[in-house]
C-alpha cells in the first residue's frame, strides 16, 4: 500500500474509484499528490482538522467550493469533481425497478455524539414515506445495537454501507459501489440534514428530500454558518417534496458532475502514472471522452 499525502484521500474508497477511472489498479490506488475533498461541505472543501502543507494542491468537487476556498486564502485549488460523479458515469444504470426511500439519519463522526430523538424522526419518516424505507446508518450507529433495533422495530430495513477507513487502515474500496447499488434500488433519497448522501442520491437518479429534526452534535460549532446557513443557501434541496429538476441541477453543480476531467488530465494532476507504465494494471472502465 502506498501512502497518500493525506489519509482522507482514501476515505470511502474515493481514490479507488478514481484509480479505476484512470485505468489504474483500483485494488491498490496510487498516492494522490494532493488533498482530495472527501465529503460535501460548506467551507473550503476540506475537513477543519486538516493540516496544510504549502504547495500541495487541493482537489475539490465544485467550482463554488473552489471560489470559496480561494476567498478563504487557499491556493492551488483545482476542481476535479466528486469521485461519486465519476463512479456514476462509469457504472451503467441497472435495469431493475426503483422502489421506496433510502434515509440517512444524520450521524456524527468518530468521537461525536448526537443530541436528538430517533423516535421522533422515525415517526416523521413513517408519516412521510409511502413506500418501503431503508435506513442507512453510519457504521458507528450501526454498531450500536440500541439505535439499530429502534429503526428495525419501526419496520424499516437497516443497512450500513461500510467503514470509511482511516489512517490507511481497513480501507474499503467497495464503499461507494455498495452505496450506489443501494441508492439505485430506491426512488427517493432523504435525510434530516443536507449531506453528501442526499447529493449522491440526487445524481444517482433518486428524488431527494431533507426533512425532520436535524439533530445536533454535542458541542456543535457553527463554522461557516452551520445548519442555518445550509437551510438558507441550499433551500431548494429542503422539504419533503422538492423540485426534482432544480435539486438535480444543484447536485450536478455541487458534485462537479458537469466538469469531469479526462483520465489523462486526472492522472497528470494527481501525479499518477500512465496505465501502460504500471505492471499488471487492471484496465477497467476507462471512459473514452
Amino acid at each position: 500500500m502506498e501512502f497518500g499525502v493525506h489519509h482522507a484521500n482514501h476515505y470511502y474508497g474515493h481514490s479507488h474509484v478514481l484509480a479505476r477511472y484512470c485505468g489504474l489498479d483500483d485494488e491498490d490506488p496510487p498516492r494522490i499528490q494532493g488533498y482530495l475533498q472527501h465529503g460535501w461541505n460548506i467551507g473550503d472543501g476540506l475537513a477543519p482538522d486538516h493540516e496544510f502543507t504549502p504547495g500541495v494542491p487541493k482537489f475539490v468537487w465544485s467550482e463554488r467550493v473552489r471560489r470559496r476556498a480561494w476567498a478563504l486564502g487557499r491556493r492551488e485549488v483545482y476542481v476535479t469533481g466528486a469521485p461519486w460523479a465519476y463512479l456514476v458515469a462509469m457504472e451503467p444504470e441497472p435495469a431493475g425497478p426503483r422502489e421506496g426511500t433510502i434515509f440517512y439519519p444524520f450521524h456524527g463522526w468518530e468521537g461525536q455524539h448526537i443530541l436528538g430523538d430517533h423516535d421522533v424522526l422515525i415517526d416523521e419518516i413513517r408519516d412521510t414515506e409511502t413506500g418501503p424505507v431503508t435506513i442507512c446508518l453510519y457504521w458507528q450507529e450501526f454498531g450500536d445495537k440500541k439505535v439499530r433495533q429502534r429503526y428495525e422495530r419501526a419496520g424499516f430495513r437497516v443497512i450500513c454501507h461500510g467503514y470509511r477507513g482511516g489512517q490507511w487502515k481497513d480501507l474499503d474500496g467497495a464503499f461507494l459501489y455498495r452505496q450506489l447499488a443501494e441508492q439505485r434500488r430506491h426512488s427517493r433519497v432523504a435525510s434530516n440534514r443536507l449531506c453528501s448522501a442526499v447529493f449522491y442520491g440526487a445524481l444517482a437518479g433518486c428524488e431527494p428530500a431533507v426533512y425532520g429534526d436535524p439533530m445536533r452534535l454535542e458541542g456543535e460549532k457553527s463554522a461557516f454558518g452551520g445548519q442555518a446557513r445550509i437551510e438558507r443557501e441550499w433551500a431548494p434541496m429542503h422539504g419533503k417534496r422538492v423540485d426534482v429538476e432544480a435539486a438535480r441541477a444543484i447536485a450536478v453543480q455541487e458534485l462537479g458532475a458537469d466538469r469531469l476531467l479526462p483520465p489523462a488530465e486526472l492522472r497528470r494532476v494527481f501525479g499518477w502514472p500512465m496505465p501502460r507504465s504500471v505492471e499488471d494494471a487492471e484496465l477497467t472502465g476507462v471512459l473514452a471522452r
Binding site: F3, Q33, G34, T53, P54, G55, V56, P57, F59, E63, R66, R75, E76, Y78, V79, D258, R259, L261, P262, P263, A264, E265, L266, R267, R268, V269, M274, R289
Partner: protein, 513 residues
Amino acid sequence: MTVTLIGGEMPLWSDLDATHGPAPAGGAALRPLLGAVFGRTLVAGPHDPELIAALPVDDVTVLVRSESDAAVLDRYAVLCGSLDKVPAVAAYDTVVALDGLDRLISAEAPDRSWDEVLSMVAALVRPGGRLLLAVENPFGLHRLVTLPGELSDADWVVAEGPGGPEVLRGRLAAAGLTVVHDFATYPDMRLSEGEVSPSQAGDRWTRDSLAGAPAAGGRRSLPAEISLLSDSFAKNRDLSGFVEARLSAAMTAAKDVLADPRRLATGAARAGLVSELAPGWIVLAGKGQAAEARTAIWPDAITVVDGAVREIRLPDPSLPRGRTLEDLLLTACRRRDLPAVRELLTAWLSGPAAGVPAGQIVVDAAGRHAGLTPAADPLVTLREFAADVIRGGYADLWPAPIGEAELTALLAGMTGRELEPADVPAAAGPRAAESVRELTTERDRLAKELAEARAKHEWYESMLRNREAELKRVRQINKVLKATMPGRAATSLYGGLRAGKRAVRGVVKKAKG
C-alpha cells in the same frame, strides 16, 4: 540632376546609412501610400532610395541635410541643407515626409519645435496639395515597454511630436492641414539603432544600391511583419481576431523590454486603443480643400506578412472574422473556466489549425479555425502557449509546481491526450528577448516553488519519522509474538515449509535435468 547646397548642410554625416540614428523611411509597406502622390513633389528628409524611385511622378525634388546622402540621390533635383533654408513658397503639389519631421533641421540650424517644423513643411504645400506625414507616438507601446537606451548622434536636440491622434489632428489643423486619411502603424516604421545588426549597419547606402546592385541578405533589417490600420478597421469588432493577430506578430520584441509588447498590443486592441497606443501614425493631409473620398486614395489597412504586402479594402470577404483562439483561451483562463479551456484546447489540437500559434488562429462564430500562419509541430506550439500562460501569470490555475514541460503535458491531458513532460519537445530556438515583467513573474514563481518544496520536504520528513516509529513498534510486537508458544510453532512451521519448498525445487530440477 543638380545638388543645390541651400545652407546648413552636414558634411560628415549620413541619415541614409543608419549609423547616426534609425534607418530612413522605406520598405514595402509604404509603397501603397505612394498612390496619393501627384504633381510636383518634394521628398522631405531621408527616404529609402528605392521608395523615392517608386514615386509615380517625374517632377521630384529631394531635401536632405547630409552632403553624402545628396550625392547618393543626385539623379533627382536635390536640396541639400536645413529645412529652414528652403524658401517658404507653396511650390509643391505633394510633400512626402514619411520619415517624420525629426531629420529636416540640421545641426547648424537653431532648435525648432515640432510645430514650427510642421508649419515650415505645410508652407511648402500648394493649396489643394497633399502632405504624407509619419509621426512617432511619444506615448506609443514601444516607448511604454522600452528600457533606458543610449542617445544617438542625431539626438543633439529632441523635438517631441503630439501624443495622440486627436492632438495630432489639432496640430495639423493649426498648420492649415486637414487629415484625409490616417493609419496607426505597428511597429514603429523606423528601427532604432540597436535593432540594426552590425553587418547591416556596416553596409551603407552607396551609388551601387541605386544602380540596382543586388541587396544580399537585405541591407537593412526592416521588420518582416508590419500593419498599417485605419482606426475604423482596428475598431471593427468582427475583425478583432485578425487585428490582434497582426499586432501581436508586429510587436514581437527584438530586445529586452519592460513587458511583453505583444500582450500590450492585443490588450490595446481589445480596449479599442489601437490608434492611441500605436508606435506611430501616418497621415494624409490636404491643404485648403474638402475632404476627399478617403478609400479612393488609401486602403483601409496595409499588412506586410513575411515581406509580402497586402492592401485591404473593406468589406473584404476573404478576411477571417472572429476572435483569436488565444483571446478565447486567455479569457477563459481569467474567468477560471477550465471546462471552456478544455473545449478550446481540444478543438485546437484536433482541428485543422493544430500547430498554428493560438494567437494566429481566428475562430469564427461557428467555431471554425482559420490559421493565419503555417502550422509547425503542434507540441512545440502547445509548449509556446504554455510558456505564454506561465509568463502571463495564469499558472495559478493549475496545481503547483508547474514548469513549461509539465504544463504542456497537463494541457495535452486536458484534451484527453497522454503526454509525459519528458516527451515534450524543447522550445523552438533560443528566447530572443526577455521582459522585466515576465522575469519577475518567473522569479516569484520559482521562489514560491522552492518554499513549497521545502515545506513538503519537512512534511515528508515528519511522515518518515512516524513510519519509522510505526515500523519499530510492529517489529517489537513481532519479536514478542515470536517468543510465544504459537509464535515459535509458526516459525518452525514456516521453516519447515521453506525446507520443503527447497526439496521440491531440487526434485523438479533433477527431473528437468
